[in-house]
């Protein structure tokens, strides 16, 4: 088994004394796609921010290649690609200008940057809107810019935080194949998503987070076997759901119809 490239070691994050991430530990190896699942507010994004170095853990450490990312943050950032959950981009720039800024900050040589931007914008179907202001982009278009920005420098570690949000069917399929291909080329990928079907097909291993704590970590097959369920959705439901979704749906329909 290859050595872990990225490791979260006993990560804890408190906000105003409340633990939103509680003693989270896991590793991501080269060639692996690790699914990171959990309901809203379970601490996935906070973990992602700590893993990228954008947020400091209250305790615990993030290791890259066995060394704390704080030892040489620049070396880590050179090899990290991150697609954040929210498509926060500079709205006054065009898609091309945003990518150019990121590429230049990453010191990608101009000719390489130009070539990659042109090709990636074309492949992601954004070439026609490349010179348009990002303020006029749809959510899916912004998401594509984020994905291109994370891939521009050919990183070794990729952290995707709900990357398929807002993407159309074609782009979502392309992304799925892309993540698979990147892993097969030795990249370490942490993939957080609410689309369990994708996670089930894509991820070699799955971590399930609930209220800031890891409640399960194994391969999808192993989890299914252990919990005697046929799908990851059923496993997930058993692990983290506190209400009956069908009953909640009925209650909502009743409220809407005025029966409740």
């Amino acid at each position: 088994m290859t050595a872990p490239l990225l490791e979260a070691r006993h990560l804890v994050k408190r906000f105003h004394g409340i633990k939103v991430v509680d003693d989270v530990s896991f590793v991501v190896r080269p060639g692996e796609v690790v699914g990171y699942l959990g309901p809203n507010g379970s601490g996935k994004t906070t973990t992602g921010r700590m893993l990228t170095g954008l947020m400091e853990p209250s305790s615990g450490a993030v290791l890259f290649g066995g060394r704390s990312i704080g030892d040489d943050p620049v070396a880590y950032r050179r090899r990290l690609g991150y697609v954040p959950e929210e498509p926060a981009l500079y709205s006054f720039l065009s898609g091309r200008e945003q990518l150019q800024l990121i590429g230049r900050l990453r010191e990608i040589p101009e000719d390489v940057l130009e070539h990659r931007m042109r090709a990636l914008l074309q492949l992601f179907g954004l070439a026609d809107a490349a010179e348009q202001s990002i303020s006029a982009y749809s959510k899916g278009m912004k998401q594509k810019v984020l994905i291109i920005g994370a891939l521009l420098h050919d990183p070794d570690v990729l952290i995707f935080d709900e990357p398929d949000s807002g993407l159309d069917v074609t782009a979502a399929l392309v992304l799925r194949h892309l993540v698979d291909l990147l892993a097969s080329r030795g990249k370490a990928v942490l993939y957080s998503s609410h689309v369990l079907e994708v996670v089930e097909k894509l991820c070699t291993r799955v971590i399930v987070l609930h209220r800031g704590r890891i409640v399960a970590e194994d391969t999808v097959d192993q989890l299914r076997t252990l919990m005697s369920h046929e799908s990851l959705e059923q496993v997930f439901a058993q692990l983290v759901l506190e209400t009956n979704p069908a009953q909640t749906a009925r209650d909502i329909a009743d409220v809407v119809a005025g029966h409740a």
Partner: protein
Amino acid sequence: MREQLLTRHFLQRFLENDLVSPDSDRHDVLALVFSILLASTLFITVALSLKFMFMPLQSPGRTAMLATDDRMFFLTCSMIVMALVAVASWDALSLDPRDSSILGPLPVAHGVIVRAKLRAVALFAAGFALAVTAMPTVLHPPLMVAKLPIGLLTGLLLIPIHFVVAVAAGLFGFTTIVAVRETLRAVSGRHFARLSGIVQAVLIVALVTAFLLMPAVVFNAARSAATPGSSVTLLPPFWFLGAHETLAGGLVDGLPREELPPAVQRAEQRATADYRAAIPAFRGLAVRALIAFPAMMILAWSVYTWNSRRLPFPPVASRADQYAGSGLPARLVAGTLARTPAARAGFFFTVHCLIRSAPHRLVMAGCTAVALALAVATFQDAMGDRFDPRAPRMSGFNTQTLVLAILLAGFGHVLRLPADIRANRLFHLAWLGQKERYVDGVNRAALLIVVLPALLALLPAQALLFGMPMAAGHMLTGLLFGIVVLEAFAANPRLLPFANSYVRAPDLNTKGPVIGIASLFAISIFSSLEQSALGGPQPALIFWFSLALVFAALRYQRRRRARGEAVELPDVYPSEMARLDLTSAS
């Protein structure tokens, strides 16, 4: 009911302004704006009215002449302030794509949405017009005529006349901006989003400059109006002054004259003659106001309703938006001024922020306006009636340094403003700690788009005043001054231009006046030194060499610090981020 609800919603949108921090309480901001308006107009009104209170032997003719200047001031002020209010709320003046996406799917008729928006714009304008004109309306007429033998009813009549004309002038200013904006929107189509910001900045520069130069225009308004062929009467405030004087002028001028000492009597006769000579001109100007006001209202309303015939949606990509790559100017800059990737990032990000980001652009537009007004006033004074181009004079020599100081102070402030707090996360992730080269790019962009244009704009006037050789030397000093000041900005170790979440600025409430006075003092000393140095080639070279030396020292210090500094993310998890509520859980 729905219309009222929507009107309230649209009125709240006026407070969602780029100039207002998202952290602040909007009602506090509104209260502050109105209290500043009321307090400043109260102060100005009382200050202008004091001359009537303390005028010995006040007489109708002299009062009418003096009051004309005051009214001209109030009307110009009302018009410019209202126009500025409209420019400051530029994006909220009409329905935008966000309104469309929220209100479009609701079962609300299109006409109701448009009417509600129009009502909100009208109420907003009316509220500000009232705030701007309230104090002068209530205080100026009574204080002006308090010592004159005027009847109570006649005296009171001055109040509604002032109110109507001043509000009309203010609304004219506001409506003109609406008309300009909506006409631009109608003719520019999908390019409006990009053009709009530039036009807004140009209008801010023009209006603030006009506001600062206003005292020069309002002086001796009656005589200016009466001068045949005078170009100042083309200015809209004169039209409304004409309307005001046509309605109210006779109420004061028509008062009976009392027996006065001979000297005062002569002044009174002269003032009466001057005022009465201007009356025909006032009537002509009043006609212009009478035509212009409804014409502008109709134009604004027509183009506004034309643009509102359907809800706006974001422009869709067209072939014109296709990937174009870097243009020739960008490639030229990349090959000369910014040769490393980080320097290019700094250079182009600075250009984009200053031109396209609303808060950055507004600060720079405001500073440009102040600098422009200062330059116009000084050079106009220096090139007075007795100016002879063959005999250069040195008055106004410190103007260039003052103009640069104002522009660079503005630039120093915008460096602290984040381009976008949330989007800065991506910047931080891509940041490899190459601050030195990034800042080089930022400084070169500032030189190219802030310092050089200012120097080139000042050059013709300075060449005329000081002679070309001196003006060229002065310009070189300006360039070196700009380079040194920009390098001094870079000395702040916590500052990463446009990418910090929050950099504490000096407390301007307490230190501001001290910093201002010290800066003026320093600029005055610098200008004196420069003026004597430019007297001969050798002292000039020594002076420029000294400036270059200061720059080299600052630069060396920055490099040394950069080598010793641990490469950190610009501001990961500082307490300020928690203050800005950026540390929320997933």
